[in-house]
Structures are given as structure tokens and as C-alpha cells.
């Protein structure tokens, strides 16, 4: 795969959007709405959160003005790209009664060609984790696969970290080396506003041809890598991943689970904002005549009691058991199932927990010695 590097001026986001839309992509990116940076269709750079950053802490999020005109000077908001590839409510198929039998009308995703603008390195890592979940093994989810393989990915490497970020310790950021079509690094300061553009795929190279960008020097890439390494080291939150899975599974009766359960609302927010959580429920929705039926998949959560209801009762009746399920699955079970941790260190579950529970603190306490 080519790894060409180009330089571009501050008009790059608009030029990219035009080029992608001309190729028939629906361009999705970050935009400020209702006091947060959310994901939605964007048409021009004016739709991007120019000059904005977020103040993020456990259970706390506020938009703030930046002192500069950075286009990507924010980090991650409450939504992640999974809402486009694994939508919260998705029709899987429809059926119609016909004579003594029924006809199935499959759901085709063919018309959707999405371009994601501003995918952060941690989010790219999350997409790769969801790839393993949805089409890594013999069971391929055709809906996810269709949307994902067509999606054009424009990654944006991070220049700043939110206090809730811990990609540095998860090895998922703040810079992406591959897995994208194009990767941007925004460079601001001393009157400069430029972008470094790295090419990660043939698709990306083809798109760039029309933009006629100048190649960047080798030192530019080196400088970007150096800055990223510094940023990774400067993150205050971290997760010690060495031996974590074993420690968690050895501490299933740790008294700290009960302490966390006292604070946990079992509201499911952490799993909804998590870019890798993939649990869903499937519902058959028939009309009153009984002649038409649709099968819908909806986001579900291990924190919802009905999620673990089986005939005769609930396997995880307590909040303690549900929180433990989530954390041990994310950091241990996931490795057995998919060969990777389920966490990318984006920090969403920390920021968007209404009870301000900080997963990095919980993990540190849970791997500690059991003191009674």
C-alpha cells in the first residue's frame, strides 16, 4: 500500500467534501448541535465545529470556544460511527403473507455510500474491532459489511487529548498508521493553517489526484509522529493493560464490584456511547392484520435486565452482576472471542456516565489486592 504524504492549505476540508460528494458519497462528519459535537451529514467546512473544543470530565461535557480556527480542534462527542454502520434501529427484512406461505423481502444497503470525515485514530481502532465482530469469522453480518466496505474513511489524527482520553495506554492513538483511505493532520500556529495528508488506500490516492496537492517532505511526517508520541505520553488517564484480563477474571468476587454497583445507574449510557459495544435485540413487528411483518434490530445493552432474561428468570438480576459482565467482557472476554480488547480508550463511557463513574479508576481498583 502506498504511503504518500502531501501538504494542503486550509481549504482542504471543503475541497475534500466537494470531491467526495461528486463521487456520490454522503459525507458524514462532526458538527456542533445542542451543546455537543455530534455526527451528521455535512456539506461544507462551515458545518464542521470550527474553533470549538470540549471540556470533558467524568459525567461532564461542555462546548468551549478555542482561541484559534482549528477545524478539528475537538476530540470525541457522545456519538460514534457505529450509528451509521450498526444503526440503533435497523430493519433486517420484511415479510408478506402470500397464500399459505410468506415472501421475504431482504433489506439491501446497496444505495448507501458513506464517507466519514474526522474519524479519530481511536475510532478507527473501534471500527476495526467491530469488523472482527460483524465479519471477522464465518458469520458475516451483511448489513454491516455492505455499509462498511463501501465507507470512505478520512481519519483525523489528534493534536490534543481530552482529560478523559486514554488511547495512549490502549495503543490505539493519538495517531493512525493505517486502516484509513486518507489521514489528515491539522497544523496550526505562527500564522500557518495547513494539513498533512497521508494516503492509505488506492481509493484515497484516486480521490487525491484531482486535488493536485504538493508532496510533503519526509521531515513533516517525522514531526507529526514525534508530536503524537509526546501527546500519547502526556495523557493523564491510563489503563494498565498488562495482565489486566487475568487480574479481572481472578477478582470476580472483589468487594469493589459491589461498591461500583452502588453508584451505577444501570442506565446503559456507557454501552450506548461505546464505539465497540455491539449488543442488540431483535424484534418482529407485525401489523394488526398479521399479513405484514418486519424484523428490526435495535441497540441493546448488558445493563438492561431484559437483555439477560431467559426462560424462567434473569441471569443478571443485580446491577453488580451487569457491571461486572460489561467490564470483564470488554477487557477479558473480548480478547478470547475476538483477539483484541474491546476498549479503545476514547473515554466516552467516562464523560457520558450520568453517575460520573470513571472506568480507569474502577479497573485500577479491581485489579488491586482484595482488602476486607
Amino acid at each position: 500500500m502506498s504511503h504518500d504524504v502531501f501538504k494542503a492549505d486550509s481549504k482542504l476540508p471543503d475541497r475534500l467534501l466537494v470531491a467526495l460528494r461528486e463521487q456520490g458519497y454522503t459525507t458524514i462528519g462532526p458538527t456542533a448541535r445542542d451543546g455537543a459535537i455530534v455526527l451528521d451529514e455535512i456539506h461544507a467546512s462551515a458545518d464542521l465545529p470550527v474553533g470549538l473544543r470540549e471540556d470533558q470530565e467524568a459525567g461532564h461535557y461542555r462546548l468551549q470556544a478555542r482561541r484559534d480556527e482549528a477545524v478539528f480542534g475537538h476530540t470525541v462527542g457522545p456519538q460514534s460511527w457505529k450509528r451509521y454502520l450498526f444503526p440503533p434501529n435497523h430493519r433486517l427484512w420484511a415479510a408478506k403473507r402470500s397464500g399459505g406461505s410468506f415472501e421475504i423481502k431482504p433489506q439491501h444497503e446497496a444505495d448507501h455510500r458513506l464517507a466519514f470525515i474526522g474519524v479519530r485514530p481511536c475510532e478507527l481502532a473501534a471500527l476495526e474491532i467491530q469488523d472482527r465482530v460483524f465479519f471477522g469469522e464465518e458469520h458475516v453480518d451483511p448489513h454491516y459489511a455492505a455499509l462498511r466496505t463501501r465507507a470512505f474513511i478520512v481519519t483525523v489524527n489528534c493534536a490534543e487529548a481530552a482529560p478523559t482520553c486514554f488511547c495512549g495506554s490502549m495503543g490505539t492513538g493519538p495517531r493512525a498508521e493505517d486502516g484509513y483511505d486518507l489521514a489528515l493532520t491539522e497544523i496550526l500556529g505562527r500564522g500557518r493553517h495547513e494539513f498533512l495528508v497521508e494516503v492509505g488506500s488506492e481509493r484515497g490516492a484516486t480521490l487525491l489526484e484531482a486535488l493536485e496537492l504538493k508532496p510533503a517532505g519526509k521531515d513533516a511526517l517525522e514531526a507529526a509522529r514525534k508530536k503524537a508520541a509526546e501527546l500519547a505520553g502526556s495523557m493523564t488517564r491510563r489503563v494498565e493493560t498488562d495482565g489486566l484480563a487475568e487480574a479481572l477474571m481472578a477478582n470476580l468476587e472483589h468487594p469493589h464490584w459491589a461498591k461500583t454497583a452502588e453508584r451505577c445507574l444501570a442506565c446503559a449510557n456507557c454501552t450506548m456511547v461505546c464505539p465497540t459495544c455491539f449488543c442488540s435485540t431483535v424484534e418482529d413487528v407485525a401489523d394488526l392484520s398479521g399479513d405484514h411483518d418486519e424484523r428490526w434490530r435495535r441497540w441493546d445493552s448488558c445493563f438492561n435486565s431484559q437483555h439477560s432474561y431467559v426462560h424462567g428468570g434473569n441471569m443478571r438480576p443485580t446491577i453488580r452482576s451487569r457491571y461486572r459482565q460489561w467490564l470483564t467482557h470488554k477487557f477479558a472476554g473480548w480478547i478470547d472471542q475476538f483477539g483484541t480488547s474491546g476498549c479503545v480508550g476514547c473515554g466516552r463511557c467516562i464523560t457520558w456516565c450520568p453517575a460520573a463513574i470513571d472506568l480507569t479508576e474502577e479497573l485500577a481498583a479491581l485489579r488491586g489486592a482484595v482488602t476486607t
Binding site: R33, D34, G35, A36, V38, G59, H60, Y61, R62, P78, Q79, R83, P88, N89, E262, R263, C264, L265, A266, C267, A268, N269, M272, V273, E283, A286, D287, L288, S289, G290, R298, W299, S301, F303, N304, S305, Q306, P317, I319, T351, W352, C353, P354, A355, A356
Partner: protein, 265 residues
């Protein structure tokens, strides 16, 4: 389909808003009328058919000795009995009287209190008879009511989630008003079903659908205190449509007895 399901709709102490949702299903009403026999529904027609009924849909709370007898009779006449709305499932907003002196209210409100024959409490239907399913909401969501009727017609369990409202906000893409603004929002302990109506319009949840299946009241209270809500505000937040729901009632008792922390700010 063989024989149509024979359905009755009953009213107790309530505002009629929930049973009105059935008539509000304008697009689906003909299909509903086709799928079931509406045998008793005074809000729709004065023509009635005598029981027994396959399904009784009950709105309202039990507030008088007469009502207490009537619901027992209805239960005897019903193969299946479901309750709809905050009044029928928890006692409704009128259950505020459960926490005061009913005699005082009667003397204050009525010119001739001697004509008033009332119980001292406003009770959920389930306090008097066995209930097969409770549909939450003030008012209920008409689509969930349709689902309830449909499930009875098709002979399966109703597909009504009991998780928190937060799940609806997140699926819908509504930004959390509690995290992004510090609002008091009851969503994390509130039963889903309204489609995240208030948060969609920049308001915290008022708890119109009552407690979710496993509400952690103390955890939310603690957090609301951290965000600066006074004990009085936190107690009052739960003193509305579902004031008599067990989780809310017990929590208010704790807050008013001072057994939870005062706000930090």
C-alpha cells in the same frame, strides 16, 4: 383468525387521557376494530355487550369503596386484565393524597363534605386484583397500547422494554442534558416508552413513565446532589405522576428523613 378477541375498556379515577389514546390511533383504528370486538368502551360508544371479556383494559386508580368492589367484579369477568397509565399502575398524581390527611382535603375542597365517600388512599389496580400486565406512562404511548392489543390478539408477550429512558435518548441521538448541561433529569431511573420526548426538546426527564425495572434511586440522588440540586428539589422531582410508585415513594421517605447527602454546592 378465528373468533375475535372480546375487549372491554374500563375507567377508574383518571383523566381519560390513556383510554383516549386508543381512539387517537386514527390510522390504525379500522384495523383495530377489525381485529377485536370492542364490547365495552363508554368513551367510544354507549352500546355495551355483557361480559365475560377476553381482555379488560383498565385506566385509573381505585379511590372509593365503590371502585374497590367494581374492580373485583371486572376481574371476575375478564380472562386477562391489563392496566394502562400512571393512575392504574401506581395510583397516579392523585395519590399525593396518600401522603396527607384526606379529611383535611375534603373539608377544604367541598362545600358539603358529607356527600364525599372516599378511601384514604389512591391505589393502583394491582393492590386490589391480579393484573396481567402494566403499561406505564402519563399518558401512555399509543403505539405501545397498540402493541399491547396486538400481543393479546396474537397470543404472545407484549414487546415493551422496561429499561431506562437513556437508551431511547442514545438511540435517537439526543445529547444528554444532564452531562452536557447539568440539568436535573430523571431519565436514568425512568421507564422508557415516551420516545425521549422532553430531552428531545432540551428538558430533563420528568419521570412521566415511572421507575424503570431496576432503578438505582440513591445513585441518581447522589449525583443530583453533586450537581447542586437541593434535598427539597430532589424530593419534589419524584412527587408527581408516579408519587406512589414503590421506588419513588421509598426514596422520598429517605430524602425527607435526611438519610441522603445534602447538596455540595
Amino acid at each position: 383468525m378465528s373468533k375475535k378477541l372480546k375487549v372491554a375498556v374500563w375507567k377508574f379515577a383518571s383523566c381519560d387521557g390513556c383510554q383516549l389514546s386508543l381512539l387517537d390511533c386514527e390510522d390504525e383504528l379500522l384495523a383495530v376494530a377489525d381485529a377485536i370486538e370492542i364490547a365495552y368502551f363508554l368513551e367510544a360508544t354507549r352500546a355495551t355487550v355483557a361480559g365475560p371479556y377476553d381482555l379488560s383494559i383498565v385506566e385509573g386508580s381505585v379511590t372509593t369503596p365503590h371502585d374497590a368492589q367494581r374492580i373485583v367484579e371486572i376481574r371476575k369477568q375478564s380472562r386477562s386484565l391489563v392496566t394502562i397509565g400512571a393512575c392504574a399502575t401506581s395510583g397516579g398524581i392523585q395519590a399525593l393524597k396518600n401522603f396527607g390527611e384526606v379529611g383535611d382535603f375534603i373539608r377544604t375542597v367541598y362545600a358539603s363534605p358529607e356527600f364525599i365517600d372516599t378511601l384514604t388512599t389512591s391505589d393502583p389496580i394491582s393492590k386490589h386484583v391480579k393484573v396481567d400486565f402494566e403499561l406505564q406512562g402519563c399518558p401512555i404511548n399509543k403505539l405501545q397500547l397498540l402493541e399491547l392489543v396486538l400481543s393479546a390478539v396474537q397470543g404472545r408477550a407484549p414487546r415493551i422494554p422496561h429499561h431506562s429512558l437513556c437508551v431511547e435518548c442514545k438511540r435517537k441521538g439526543v445529547t444528554c442534558t444532564m452531562v452536557a448541561r447539568g440539568d436535573t433529569c430523571l431519565g436514568p431511573v425512568t421507564h422508557a416508552g415516551c420516545g425521549a420526548l422532553c430531552p428531545s426538546y432540551d428538558r430533563g426527564c420528568f419521570g412521566c413513565y415511572g421507575p424503570m425495572d431496576t432503578p438505582n434511586m440513591a445513585a441518581l440522588d447522589h449525583r443530583l446532589a453533586d450537581l447542586g440540586a437541593s434535598a427539597r428539589d430532589r424530593e419534589r422531582a419524584f412527587a408527581s405522576f408516579y408519587v406512589n410508585a414503590k421506588a419513588y415513594r421509598e426514596h422520598r421517605e429517605l430524602v425527607t428523613s435526611g438519610k441522603v447527602p445534602e447538596s455540595k454546592s
